[in-house]
């Protein structure tokens, strides 16, 4: 079966087989090949088979569809052709079946691993700007990357509050601990807080801390306002804006 390969520079971003249905390309997420770039129209172009011949058709896009560097409205395509949409390239590959070594017949659960490429500064800025623009409109955006703090409510520590900026914050008497406990009987390490991609987690060490009065049984996600008891101190976990 023939396939289309979406590339940005050397990076392969997506591979789509061409079946009976036309393959749509555009910025809107419901396209078969969504291309996240402001130079691409919502429904930019489509690829389909007509009497055994593969065709590409521009859908009145603002910036045009290019086949091997020539602007086209509608054109026949074959293996080895390159379609340019915005700054993304779509390669046509009709000899797909031959190119499945080793893993044929094996279900591939892992993602396709391509040659690693390095983005140069200008492309990088562009891609990140797009990502940022898209991120701002995303419902997830505000919750991400917010730094939380620990406020000391009770017990002897070296400060009264601590921003949780590092990936691993240790609470204990050890001189490497971020939240340093002062009491005579304080443990070297009472608890740790890890900053994961989706939030902060209170974890076990060889001690078992409590969250809102309950002993935790494993890494426990912290919510705004949670009360933590560890090593004889009481701390409040707070997100601050």
């Amino acid at each position: 079966m023939a396939r289309l390969i979406l590339k940005f520079d050397a990076a392969v971003l997506q591979e789509v087989p061409i079946g009976a249905r036309p393959v749509s390309i555009g910025r809107a997420p419901d396209n078969d090949i969504p291309v996240d770039n402001l130079a691409v129209s919502n429904y930019h172009a489509r690829v389909y088979a007509e009497a055994g011949q593969l065709m590409v058709e521009d859908l009145n896009s603002l910036n045009g569809t290019f086949l091997n560097n020539k602007r086209v409205e509608r054109a026949a395509i074959r293996s080895g052709d390159a379609i340019l949409i915005g700054k993304h390239q779509i390669l046509v590959d009709e000899e797909h079946d031959a190119a499945l070594p080793l893993d044929a017949g094996r279900k591939v659960a892992a993602p396709i691993v391509n040659e690693t490429v390095m983005l140069q500064t200008k492309q990088r800025r562009e891609l990140l700007q797009q990502a940022a623009a898209a991120g701002e409109s995303s419902q997830f955006a505000p919750a991400r990357g917010r730094v939380a703090s620990l406020i000391v409510l009770r017990g002897k520590t070296d400060q009264k509050d601590y921003p949780l900026s590092s990936r691993l914050t240790v609470i204990g008497k050890s001189e490497m601990a971020t939240v340093r406990l002062r009491g005579w009987f304080a443990p070297q390490v009472a608890a740790q807080i890890s900053k994961r991609e989706d939030g902060y987690y209170l974890g076990l060490t060889n001690r078992v801390p409590r969250v809102n009065g309950k002993r935790i049984s494993g890494p426990t996600r912290l919510n705004d306002g949670d009360l933590i008891e560890a090593g004889g101190v009481e701390l409040m976990f707070l997100y601050r804006d």
């Binding site: 993602p111 396709i112 691993v113 490429v117 995303s138 691993l168 890890s194 076990l204 060490t205 494993g218």
Partner: protein, 282 residues
């Protein structure tokens, strides 16, 4: 304090050459790995320069040669952490210069991940998408943030982290050694506890093997070398699409007493203090 060390690299089932390199310096408890890129033999060359440069710079510093700092030391970091960061800056320049002198090597680059353990202090520096994990009390925490487009977009809220882990954008690095004259290096320091396991690995492991399998391997294997062997075998079982390198470090604290030394002697697992070994050695 004692570190039980396991190390293994493998070409995988798809690639024909291994572009990963690693270097272990047991005398310093210094561990470096690198994943090269650039095709042909150039990825291998870049990763070899990376690990050799980092190891040599730190060895010089440890033997009081006082090499210059190639980056400005930061006062909030220990000397070892600053030394590691300096070593990575130096490796970046060496790869960049090498590529500039050999036009055929243009575009070659490498990730780097280096750990230096000094008692309970772990210094960690990295550039790229090779990862460090800490297993403590049965939970696996990632200590490094990938410098890949997928990870950056997830941080900006455009992808979920689950999507990022399977995204093709993982192959697009935002930072690597050798591709520019200067590089931004991430550095961090962590406290180690008795019973901790530290895993350093290239993306050939993390893109093939699910996190929970990595955690259970580290928990169940009796020795660091057994864990390293098992992780590489798992990467192959899951498809082995890329080169894979893993360094596994089991941390044992409080072993410097006479009793601790005696226990170790009985287990017979000490290595000659000055030996170093790397990917090419038998």
């Amino acid at each position: 304090m004692r570190v039980d060390i396991g190390a293994r690299t493998d070409v995988g089932r798809v690639r024909s050459n291994n572009e990963d390199s690693y270097r272990v310096v047991p005398a310093l408890n210094l561990f470096v790995l690198s994943d090269g890129m650039g095709g042909k033999a150039h990825g291998e060359a870049a990763s070899a320069i990376a690990v050799e440069t980092v190891a040599a710079h730190c060895l010089q510093a440890a033997h009081n040669v006082h090499p210059p700092f190639f980056s400005k030391p930061r006062p909030n970091f220990s000397e070892k952490t600053n030394r590691l960061a300096s070593a990575v800056h130096w490796a970046n320049r060496k790869i960049h210069l090498d590529a500039a002198r050999n036009p055929r090597r243009r575009g070659m680059g490498a990730t780097v991940l280096a750990a230096w353990i000094d008692g309970e202090h772990l210094s960690l520096v990295h550039v790229g998408d090779s990862r460090a994990y800490l297993l403590r009390a049965g939970a696996l925490e990632q200590l490094t943030a990938d410098h890949s487009l997928a990870a950056e977009r997830a941080r900006r809220g455009y992808l979920t982290y689950q999507q990022a882990e399977t995204s093709a954008l993982q192959s697009v690095l935002l930072r690597a050694l050798g591709t520019n004259e200067e590089v931004e290096v991430d550095a961090g320091e962590h406290l180690l506890l008795d019973g901790d396991a530290v895993l350093l690995c290239t993306d050939g492991l993390t893109r093939m093997v699910p996190r929970h399998e990595i955690a259970s391997t580290l928990i169940t294997c009796p020795s660091a070398q057994a864990a390293a062997d098992r992780l590489v075998a798992l990467a192959s079982d899951h498809g082995g699409r890329d080169n894979v390198t893993v360094l596994v470090l089991f941390i044992e604290m409080g072993g410097d007493s006479a009793l601790g030394r005696l226990r170790r002697w009985f287990r017979g697992s000490s290595r000659p203090p000055d030996a170093t070994f790397s990917a090419g050695d038998p």
